[in-house]
């Protein structure tokens, strides 16, 4: 069971959050191709390892969080706002 340290509310159980997938893929813009939208909508990196992902704190502040989590151990090593990114040296697996 995950315990996610929300920067606004403190550490809370996963039951308060809703997962919203990969946070590393920006939505294509109107200028992009159908293939780009198809990749954005259906393609998944789905790594076994570190994953930067969206969590919406629906049972709390209703803010969107960016969370870096390991998909096997479930360790969470970084949480930030949508604008922020984990430090690059932390990003290396």
């Amino acid at each position: 069971m995950l315990r996610i340290p929300c920067p606004w509310c403190g550490t809370r159980d996963e039951a308060e959050f809703r997962y919203h997938g990969d946070a590393t893929r920006p939505r294509p813009t109107a200028a992009d191709t159908l293939a780009d939208f198809s990749r954005y909508t259906y393609g998944r990196d789905n790594p076994l390892g570190w994953h930067l992902e969206w969590w919406l704190h629906v049972g709390g502040c209703r803010r969107l969080l960016k969370v870096e989590r390991h998909t096997l151990s479930h360790e969470i090593r970084w949480v930030g706002t949508p604008e922020a990114s984990p430090a690059p040296e932390v990003q290396a697996p």
Binding site: E14, Y19, G21, R39, R44, L48, H51, E53, L72, S73
Partner: protein
């Protein structure tokens, strides 16, 4: 859509017979001999440097594909590579249910094709996997649900598949433990597929492994694939912990880990890996004859021949490769259990476990060629992998042998996402946690 071809009874090639025929007479004979005459159910093969077909993944689908390649298409130059011991992934972690009650016509055809193969599995394999057609019963609790199930049952009947609507009284007669009024979402009725049921899951892997091995397939355990070698847009073999193995065709049958394997070939798949949990109780004398599905929460349950009640619920909602259960899901599933079947309140739950599965973006599987020549994918099984093992293996073997999809699996191609021909059973779109 042409009618599904009848599965042909595969003949087992006599030459590599390793364990002999199983029968009551042999069991009795061995009994007088201290059961010493049995030998390995499948040969523990060492890998050769090249094969016509290399199947990655010694689970249900990989072993079934090998079996049907060898016995149905005469392609015996096949290796099944498994990184650990065979049959310990999802084929060993599911809740053993078989059924073909689906909303999309193409899925009804595919899963019923599978059900027909299950119905003759023991005779095909000479291995008793205890296919038990005890019926699957879906309860409904609202009129909207009744309408959906009516639509599905009618479609099944049009497709020549069995389905029946049950009244409240008939539900109670079939499952006396059900509390029809259960305080919150009363049971309004149910839909029964009498041919649905359960199968002894481990035996499926062992039976296909034995059959494939006897037909000449090399089953190579403890052989981890570490890379997929490409020459341009063509796959030519796999790098493994036991060296490079060349192949004309590489088939991935590693549901749960399809993305990781496909990445080795430079492919990205419309798949996320999620954990689905299952539970079993202590054994009790028979109390539940059918496979029962609650309609007001995520909960389904059946009783194994050993007496344990096997049940499960929904996925946890985020991608994970961790094969373990979580507490919130335990509470959700058991609350549904006590609500629907209050008589179970004092029965004790013995174990919980998790299996990681390929959740595809439309909730339906993928049996397909890929953008790379020589690479075939069998994956994306979501919750439906176990019940599909015979059909998945049969149609994947067909795809490898003929280079073209089998008609009952043609809708499961990888191209459907880009083309807008998704097969979305639940109509929830590309959100695996909703399927």
């Amino acid at each position: 859509m042409p009618p599904a071809p009848r599965p042909s009874a595969p003949a087992i090639a006599p030459e590599r017979t390793s364990s002999g025929r199983y029968s009551l007479w042999r069991l009795l004979r061995e009994g007088l001999n201290g059961q010493r005459g049995w030998s390995r159910a499948w040969v523990k093969a060492a890998p050769r440097p090249r094969y016509r077909v290399v199947i990655v993944g010694g689970g249900g689908h990989g072993l079934a594909t090998a079996f049907y390649l060898a016995t149905g298409h005469g392609i015996c130059d096949v290796a099944v590579l498994e990184r650990g011991p065979l049959g310990l992934g999802n084929v060993a972690r599911n809740t053993t249910i078989i059924r073909s009650n689906y909303f999309q016509p193409a899925n009804i055809r595919f899963y019923d094709f599978s059900l027909r193969l299950w119905e003759r599995l023991e005779r095909s394999l000479n291995f008793n996997a205890m296919v038990s057609q005890r019926g699957t019963l879906n309860l409904f609790h609202t009129e909207a649900q009744r309408d959906l199930f009516t639509r599905r049952a009618n479609l099944m009947r049009l497709e020549g598949v069995d389905a029946a609507a049950l009244s409240r009284a008939a539900v109670k007669a079939l499952v006396p433990l059900v509390d029809l009024d259960n305080g919150r979402y009363p049971v309004l009725g149910g839909f029964l597929q009498p041919r649905g049921g359960t199968v002894r899951h481990d035996a499926v892997a062992w039976g296909y492994a034995r059959g494939a091995s006897e037909a000449g397939v090399d089953i190579v355990e403890h052989c981890a694939v570490t890379g997929i070698r490409r020459e341009g847009e063509r796959v030519v073999g796999v790098e493994t912990s036991r060296g490079f193995i060349a192949a004309d065709v590489v088939c991935l049958a590693v549901a749960g880990h399809s993305s990781e394997l496909a990445r080795m070939a430079g492919l990205e798949l419309p798949i996320e890996t999620h954990v689905l949990q299952a539970f079993v109780t202590e054994g009790v004398k028979p109390v539940l004859d059918v496979v029962l599905t609650y309609g007001a929460g995520h909960f389904y349950i059946s009783q194994s021949d050993k007496g344990g009640l096997v049940f499960g619920g929904a996925i946890d909602g985020y991608n994970t490769y961790g094969q373990r259960g979580t507490l919130p899901m335990v509470e959700e599933v058991t609350a549904a259990a006590v609500t629907l079947l209050p008589a179970l309140a004092r029965v004790k739950v013995l174990r919980q476990w998790g299996g990681v599965m390929d959740m595809s973006m439309d909730g339906s599987p993928i049996i397909s060629q890929t953008p790379l020549a020589g690479l075939v994918l069998n994956g994306g099984w979501c919750y439906g992998g176990f019940k599909a093992i015979p059909a998945g293996g049969f149609t994947t073997a067909h795809l490898i042998a003929h280079g073209a999809p089998h008609p009952v699996a043609a809708h499961l191609d990888l191209g459907r996402f880009a083309a807008g021909r998704t097969v979305d059973e639940r109509g929830v779109g590309p959100f695996p946690y909703l399927h």
